[in-house]
Symmetry: C2
Subunit: 217 residues, 2 copies
DNA sequence: GATGACATGTAATCAGTTACATGATTAG
DNA sequence: CTAATCATGTAACTGATTACATGTCATC
């Protein structure tokens, strides 16, 4: 017995928001779901076929002149029941998979300058993403009176955006910290060459102690 | 030409820290790398075979009486060169995949009580993980004088732990916030039962919302 | 006598990406 | 005439999990 995958529930959730074709889902899977789940169109069409076979969505072929026919999918009663049951099912921890953190683990091998470049680049990337989320949050705050109402579909957008903002802010901050570690290293190497050694060692030590205290945070 | 996968670099990085057998790597992939990359033993043995074929690690079979033979892998010169080059290569953003955030997106369908249960459970899970990271951080702080030395392998442990702590704190906080949204909702429902006057208004509101919900479906 | 640690592998399957395949319409 | 958007699918492949397979020793 084939089970429904997490990705297929993602499709179901999107269709529950409002009926869509495979093509439209391909677009919609970029925002806002794309922030935490992505897929290629081929994967989407397969998922739709599977959900249809399980009776969780219904297909309606809409003839279009001037355009290829559109297959519009609507969630069925069985689909709503399945989605509602799934959405609060206990969730076991997911295996993490972060290439960036893996790099950090092996970064001691790297040229410090290259390390700074990597983490500053990543910081910029995540700050840009953060800004985009914040812009989107501002725009949904205009459309809806914010806080509650948990029972309305748009609450999902709000909740996921909050998550995205927190996560991006946190990772950008960590990237900045990483870059700074290597910049400090480069600073010290530069100072050594200019022969202000003793004083600098003292300063470095003081600085280190202060950061040590901050590290404990 | 077969390329080296991110996972295989993870193995390389572990072996660069110190030589290990496949069995040992299976254990080591739980801590600390397991916090951001996991693998099953079968996957590990395949990866090792591949890395060996590419000349990035070398195998030494150690005969053991009373135990099956152990295959100890050591990183080669070529392996160090490859790892060092990879570690600062520009990294394109990785497709996110978060089942929990997906649930949040569809949570408007759920029974509020079930939603609270889900997010409180997740909060507890992430707080427990946070505590574990903090304990580990405390223990590596005892072994090593903290801040610098970016060039020593243990810096990787420190950096990844910082990342883990930040990430877990952030997600636990978000789970708490989510749970509170639904608790607030339940509180209001509870008041309804005890106070007849407000109840009329709130029920009218609920009815409106339910009608709205059917429309969107 | 059962469970769990030690120890290494192969085979089957599943999830997801990339490549292949087709074809009309619209805007530059 | 070139590229982008609309529109849907299949096939091949890769990355990762699960199941199969084997066997010893130590501890409860």
């Amino acid at each position: 017995m084939q089970t429904i995958t997490t990705f297929e529930y993602a499709l179901l959730a999107l269709i529950a928001h409002h009926p869509s074709s495979g093509y439209e889902l391909t677009q919609r899977l970029k925002k806002p779901i794309g922030f935490f789940w992505t897929a290629h169109h081929s994967h989407i069409y397969n998922g739709l076929t599977h959900l249809e076979a399980r009776g969780l969505i219904a297909r309606e072929v809409i003839a279009q002149q001037r355009r290829p026919n559109k297959h519009l999918f609507t969630i069925t009663e069985a689909g709503i029941v399945a989605l509602r049951a799934w959405v609060t099912m206990p969730l076991e921890p997911e295996p993490p998979r972060s290439g960036l953190t893996l790099r950090a683990y092996a970064i001691w091998l790297a040229d410090p300058q290259a390390a700074v470049r990597l983490f500053r680049q990543q910081e910029a990337l995540h700050l840009a993403q953060l800004e985009e989320y914040e812009r989107l949050l501002a725009s949904i705050k205009q459309e809806h009176t914010i806080p509650q109402d948990i029972n309305l579909p748009w609450f999902g957008n709000y909740a996921t955006l909050r998550r995205g903002i927190g996560a991006e802010r946190e990772i950008a901050e960590w990237c900045r910290w990483m870059a700074e570690q290597f910049e400090r290293h480069l600073d010290r190497a530069g100072d050594d060459e200019q022969a202000a050694q003793k004083a600098d060692d003292d300063n470095a030590l003081m600085r280190d102690q202060q950061e040590q205290r901050r590290d404990v945070l």
